[in-house]
Every structure is written in structure tokens, then in C-alpha cells.
Symmetry: C2
Subunit: 161 residues, 2 copies
DNA sequence: GAACGGGTACTCGGATAACTATTGTCCGAGTGACTGTGG
DNA sequence: CCACAGTCACTCGGACAATAGTTATCCGAGTACCCGTTC
């Protein structure tokens, strides 16, 4: 089980975007440069955030990305789902319906869902709840507590160019 | 984020193995036939379970697999870790140390762990706890509740050959 | 009749190949800003 | 001086390639059983 690397990038970018002036768009290349990331690929991830409404984008000169809504309205689950998809980790393929095992459920098939599937779903649910409980604003506040200079530093760095 | 398909197979096989006589080994081909799975590939997964001590294996005629310990001692987390690896879903690559972002932590580097990483770790922890709280014995009992005929059916089917 | 040794068939285990998904790159479409011209 | 049209440079967005990871297959190593032989 592995999350795509883009999730990390996207989360950090959201935090940074929460610190720049709301009316200022930051272009992908600039966001990438802050962490030495491949610009074109980060752009791809930001596209995904855009499709999910987490950021809004604008083409052309003075274009770029900005948060699509307040940072307290964006959860980590939103970000993870936008980049990595919202499918749950365990996909029940229903193997118990195949072969001799299928006879057990006859004649009307299994009625209750697979116990294995339910077990994993319950774990998934906790994972999702925990991510949904943490917003970009929360993370930004935490970063600020550990490093009070961060917001200003970020804002000014993105203001240049 | 996606778990390997083998996790599902392994979980079901563990449940089935919990129902056959403890001194009877079941060969991979037989376990596979029960669900119409590719035998050689399932064998690979069972190898992984063996390396983790979840099942014990024996070569040669009358060989096969059996549970390495009582089903109440095997958690779903054990199974998932054996097949899918125990690394957590979110791997912090520490991008904040790269490029201009790295200057923020200067001169002695960041001291507290990345807030994004911590957020995902907390979700991971809940996921793991939930899986670790459910044993193969629990799942087997649940299957039995939904379908009381299952244990006998399985035991007898695996007894033939 | 019992014990022993060799052969045989069977099953796991890891090495090898095919395939799918993720990661990375590139170029075209769209957009706003700038410049020069005319009123 | 102001308004306007044309041109240009810039940035996103999706199409295309490279790489890594997962899925599937195959053959060799090891093991217990069976059978024939010998004491």
C-alpha cells in the first residue's frame, strides 16, 4: 500500500498557497522551485487539485494557481483523494463466488458482504475520518508554531517574480 | 493507494486453513482451486505468509501449508504486512529540505517532524490499529455466523485429495 | 519376515517474463498584457 | 490625450514516452513415500 508521491507535494503546496495573498496566483514553476521539484510534473498534480476544486487556475501572463476555497475548508482527505483517487485500499474482488466456494452461497448467492472486505473497510473508514479531520489550515498553524517565520518567508519568496 | 490483490487471497486462505484439521497440510494448488485462482501465484503469496511465520510449509508428498499459530494469534495486520509490506502509505521524502524551502530550517535544520508527515502517520496508525484488532479467528467466526455450514463444507472439501 | 537402500513422484521456493500503473516530459490551446495607430 | 486593434509572450492542460511495481509463469531443490532387494 503506497500513496503517490504527488500527495506530499500537493499538501505542501496547499499550505504555501494559504500564506500568499488570496488574490495572487502562483505559477506551477514557482511552486516547484521552492522545493526543487520537476515543474511539469507538479503542474500535472495541480491540475488534479483544480479538477477537484481545491485550487483554481488561470492561464496566460499573471496566471497560476490559488486556493479554491479557504484553507480551513480543505481537508487532507480532499487532497489525497484528488491526487490518489478516492477508491478504497482494499477492493473485494468477490473470489468467494468463484469455483467450489461459490457453492456455499447457493442457491441465492451470499447475502451478507464478505467478512474480509468489511474488516478492511472499517480500517479504511478510520483512515479517511482521520484525514478528513485535518485541514490545510490546521497544518499551516502547526508549521507556524514550529517555525513562526515561515509564513512571511513563504509569502515574500513567492512575491518575488 | 491500493493493496495488492494477494492480501485478499491470503486472508481467505487463512480462514479456510483455520477450519481444516491442524495436523493436515493443504497444498497451494488445492487452496487455489477452491476460488479458481492461479495456483502458482497463490503459492508465491503463501511463501510470503511462510516467511512471516503465519503459515508453516512442507515440501514433498503430503506436503502443503498449515497455520503457523492459532487463528486467534493472527491479525489482519499480520497478513497485510506479510503480503503488502509493512511500510506506511505515506513516505515523507523531506522535500522541505530542498531548494529555498531548506533555508527556512537553517542553520540547524528542521527539528520537529514535517506536519504533513505527522498528519498522515496518525491516519496510518488508526488504520493499523483497526487491522491489528481483528484476528483470523474473528473473521472465521463471522463467516460462520452468516453461514453455519461453511466450516464443515470447507473441511470436507479440503479433505478430499 | 523385517530392515535397508534406491528410485520416483510430488510440492514448495525462488528465478524469470509479461503486463499494468506510476512517474516524467513535451508541445499545443488559451489568455492577458503590451505596443503602435488613429480619432 | 484616449480608445482600439493587432501582436506577442506567458501559463495551463492534456497527449505522449520512460520507468518502476505488480501480476503471472516456469523450472530446480528438497522430501516423503513406495518398491525391490538383502539379511
Amino acid at each position: 500500500m503506497k500513496l503517490r508521491e504527488g500527495v506530499e507535494w500537493a499538501a505542501h503546496c496547499c499550505i504555501n498557497l494559504s500564506w500568499v495573498a488570496p488574490d495572487k496566483a502562483v505559477k506551477a514553476a514557482r511552486l516547484a522551485a521552492f522545493y526543487d521539484l520537476p515543474a511539469a510534473y507538479l503542474n500535472k498534480q495541480l491540475n488534479a487539485l483544480g479538477r477537484a476544486g481545491i485550487v483554481s487556475s488561470q492561464s496566460g501572463p499573471r496566471g497560476g494557481f490559488r486556493l479554491g476555497r479557504g484553507p480551513e475548508q480543505i481537508t487532507l482527505m480532499d487532497v489525497a483523494a484528488a491526487i490518489d483517487g478516492s477508491a478504497q485500499a482494499f477492493l473485494c474482488t468477490g473470489i468467494r463466488h468463484n469455483g467450489p466456494a461459490g457453492e456455499l452461497g447457493a442457491p441465492d448467492g451470499y447475502r451478507t458482504p464478505c467478512s474480509v472486505s468489511r474488516a478492511f473497510s472499517s480500517a479504511d473508514l478510520l483512515w479517511r475520518r482521520q484525514l478528513a479531520a485535518q485541514t490545510v489550515a490546521d497544518l499551516a498553524a502547526e508549521v507556524r508554531r514550529a517555525n513562526p517565520a515561515a509564513p512571511d518567508y513563504v509569502r515574500h519568496w513567492f512575491d518575488r517574480n
